[in-house]
């Protein structure tokens, strides 16, 4: 199936997205955040927690004066390394214990400080590259089943129960496991530490939890002869730190949206844009596929009305990702099957939207999200709606397919719910595998006209955003009917202007090496 769409309008939308993101990129280049600085420390090898379970990277960054942090933490950390002879882990622990402070080290010239950091920067990047190479090797040895890649969530709150559920889901056909985070983690300005067994509506993202799940999935991958991917959330106030931990623990995907936290979690927009950029540079380098969050526009408002906003957000996410060095094959743009099931021809609109995205972003691993908003306690109808979603996904060649759960409206999935969802998806996708290639949309029919209308409305929306500027457009509630002020929301106090001599060794290295590193297709 190929819909006739106006290619000049598509190019216009891309040009508008570039015009929209350019001023934001200028802002990003002139600022950093506490989370970006903490990420630099984590990459260097700083880890652990101090008193009251506060992570060491937080203790170090919180100890800096505003004047001090404007230069970036790296240089003074390098001075301290040079003058104490400690390694980053030990130095971090000493600062956390209060026996040393970064401000006491001022003797070392800048160049020597950079030199003291260099081996740790190179080791960190080598480690990330090694994980990337390992993923590529494992994927070659343990090939995945053809897309749509079946993705399910685990969310018990207890990482060990999650591990059981994840392994069972993999055996039942899941190719991607996402560990949903505990409700509220996105608003924490630190990353919890160690393995966790208590969470609400999900399980805390911690580096140790990542390690536990990665190891379990590697084991089941080898047993099944196909690589099972692991996903978590680089969103919220610790976006770049999660990206860092994911790079170190070989996660394969991360949810990472340029505007989700702003609109739906009231996280400050400047914080989000800066954090998002550093996260994506790192994701690009670590070969991690991002999943953007356009589904959220549809769950909070009418899905038919919001279709142009979804497409507009896809263009903006694509442009931000490109500007962070991400290739198309790592940009999992989002959409969702959320049209009211009572609407006549709703299925046709879903097909139109999904096919439109497929044609506009041909090389992106599109992420298709299942119905949630109109799911009820009627699990039988829910299972049927999920089947229609599965059909739409396979016929429009979506890449990443979050399996809908018949119990979506009731509880975080039971083990058997996941098995049923996977069976539903496998049945529909197998029986209709090449359906999309066999059919031709009626020229000027309902599907084609709908796709054309969404594209036209998207272009009008992007024109408006370009006129207003992205930050003011968000303030004017252009997206999701939600208004956020540029200096409002959570985490704004963690955004700061860079001094002229600001330096983050990873940013420079990622920018240089990121361009040079051409990933294998």
């Amino acid at each position: 199936m190929e819909l006739r769409i106006d290619r000049t309008l598509v190019e216009r939308c891309r040009a508008l997205a570039a015009a929209i993101t350019a001023p934001v990129s200028d802002f990003i280049a002139a600022h950093s955040t506490v989370a970006v600085e903490r990420s630099a420390l984590r990459l260097l090898g700083v880890d652990g927690v101090g008193t009251n379970e506060v992570p060491v990277p937080n203790l170090i960054i919180d100890s800096l004066t505003p004047e001090h942090r404007a230069h970036g933490v790296a240089l003074s950390f390098g001075r301290a390394l040079a003058e104490t002879g400690l390694d980053p882990l030990a130095l971090g622990e000493a600062i956390a214990a209060g026996t040393l402070t970064l401000s006491q080290f001022a003797q070392t010239p800048d160049e020597a400080a950079r030199g003291a950091l260099r081996p740790f920067v190179e080791a960190a990047l080598a480690r990330v590259r090694a994980h990337r190479a390992e993923r590529e090797q494992r994927l070659a040895e343990l090939p995945q089943l053809p897309p749509p890649l079946l993705y399910v969530i685990v969310a018990s709150g207890n990482i060990y129960e999650d591990r059981t559920a994840a392994v069972a889901a993999a055996e039942a056909g899941a190719q991607i496991i996402a560990v949903i985070r505990s409700t509220g983690q996105s608003l924490l300005d630190f990353v919890p530490y160690g393995p966790t067994t208590e969470g609400f509506g999900g399980t805390y993202a911690t580096q140790e939890n990542f390690r536990i799940m990665r190891s379990a999935l590697d084991e089941v991958s080898e047993r099944l002869g196909r690589y099972v991917m692991l996903t978590n959330y680089a969103s919220g106030l610790c976006m770049p730190e999660i990206a860092t931990m994911a790079a170190i623990e070989r996660l394969d995907m991360l949810l990472n949206d340029s505007m989700y936290g702003i609109l739906f979690r009231d996280i400050n927009m400047k914080r989000t844009f800066v954090d998002q950029h550093f996260s994506r540079m790192l994701n690009a380098y670590s070969g991690i596929i991002i999943n953007t969050g356009e589904d959220n526009y549809l769950t909070t408002a009418d899905a038919v009305e919001q279709a142009p906003a979804v497409l507009a957000s896809q263009f903006i996410n694509e442009e931000f990702a490109h500007s962070a060095g991400m290739p198309d094959r790592q940009i999992g743009l989002g959409d969702a099957y959320e049209i009211n099931p009572d609407l006549e021809d709703g299925f046709l609109y879903q097909v139109a939207q999904a096919q439109l995205a497929r044609q506009i972003f041909p090389n992106a691993p599109l992420k298709y999200m299942p119905p949630t908003k109109h799911m009820t306690g009627d699990i039988f109808k829910g299972h049927l709606i999920d089947a229609m979603f599965n059909l739409t996904s396979v016929m429009t060649h979506q890449t990443i397919h979050l399996c809908g759960m018949l119990t979506e409206a009731i509880h975080t999935p039971f083990l058997a719910d996941r098995a049923l969802a996977l069976e539903n998806a496998r049945y529909v996708m197998n029986t209709a595998r090449h359906f999309g290639d066999e059919i031709v949309a009626k020229p000027n029919g309902v599907i084609e006209r709908r796709a054309q209308a969404v594209l036209a409305d998207c272009s009008a929306l992007l024109e408006r955003v370009a006129d207003l500027g992205l930050m003011h457009a968000i303030e004017a509630a252009v997206f999701a009917d939600v208004s956020r002020a540029p200096d409002g929301g959570r985490g704004f106090d963690g955004v700061f202007a860079r001094a002229d001599d600001y330096w983050n060794p990873f940013e420079s290295a990622l920018r240089q090496q990121g361009d040079a590193y051409v990933p294998a297709r």
Binding site: A168, E171, T183, L187, G201, I410, L415
Partner: protein, 247 residues
């Protein structure tokens, strides 16, 4: 008078029930039999395991049909509904003008760590739900939507500072009883602050029932499918009642 009923399959009083569940067992004929005996132990008769199969290493799933010998006397069942005052937005606004003569101040929040505002938004946002306008659109309601992850302490402080007439607490996440804990904490705090009797206190969420709400000490609980006018009518009539009693 009693009116006993039991589940209906295709014949009155056959008691037919369908069950499905997983067992942490590799599938075998013995696992099927274990499922059958388990359902028999639950008190069911005529148990038929119509489907049993492995879903993962160490796990199997079953579909079972069975009959229950139990009946229930529907005349003895009590589940008080709060959705008794069917009024339109215009009628509710007129009712408030007549009986209170001022705007009702109502605050809503997802309390505790819950980040799911879908319920509270459906009731409060202008747009409403199922074509039924939200309370923000009512002329005689002044609405404060505090959003998600509001601590009970902050909610109560807000209610105090803004002289709120009615509080709407929402919980979507129910894992490990977090909803009950959060609802309970809010009631206790309102009581400790001496505010409980001066406000209409309502809870809502897909798992909330009015019975559960009254057991927790709330004035009403609204579950799935609730539309804004049902909440508005309850608040308006309750406040009018409290006024008449001279709160």
């Amino acid at each position: 008078m009693s009116r006993p009923v039991k589940p209906y399959g295709d014949t009155m009083n056959d008691g037919k029930v369908q069950l499905s569940f997983a067992l942490p067992l590799d599938w075998s004929e013995a696992a099927d039999e274990a499922a059958r005996q388990l359902v028999a132990k639950m008190g069911f008769t005529d148990v038929q395991v119509v489907e049993g199969r492995p879903i993962a290493r160490g796990f199997s799933t079953f579909v079972v049909y069975a009959s229950t010998p139990q009946t229930i006397d529907v005349d003895a069942v009590k589940a008080p509904s709060v959705k008794t005052h069917a009024m339109s937005m215009e009628e509710i606004d007129a009712y408030v003008r007549e009986h209170l003569g001022r705007k009702i101040r109502i605050a809503g929040a997802c309390i505790g760590t819950d980040a799911h505002t879908v319920g509270i938004d459906a009731i409060l946002n202008m747009k409403g739900f199922k074509g039924n306008y939200g309370l923000e659109r009512y002329q005689m309601f002044e609405t404060f939507n505090l959003g998600s992850q509001v601590a009970a302490e902050d909610f109560v402080r807000f209610a105090k500072e803004h002289a709120v007439d009615a509080l709407l607490a929402s919980q979507v996440v129910t894992q490990k009883g977090s909803d009950i804990k959060n609802f309970t904490a809010l009631v206790e705090l309102l009581e400790a602050e001496g505010l409980r009797d001066r406000v209409v206190l309502i809870c809502g969420g897909p798992r909330v029932t009015n019975l559960m709400a009254s057991e927790l000490g709330y004035d009403a609980g609204f579950g799935r499918g609730t539309v804004p006018s049902e909440v508005a009518a309850f608040v308006a009539t309750s406040l009018a009642g409290m006024n008449a009693r001279g709160r």
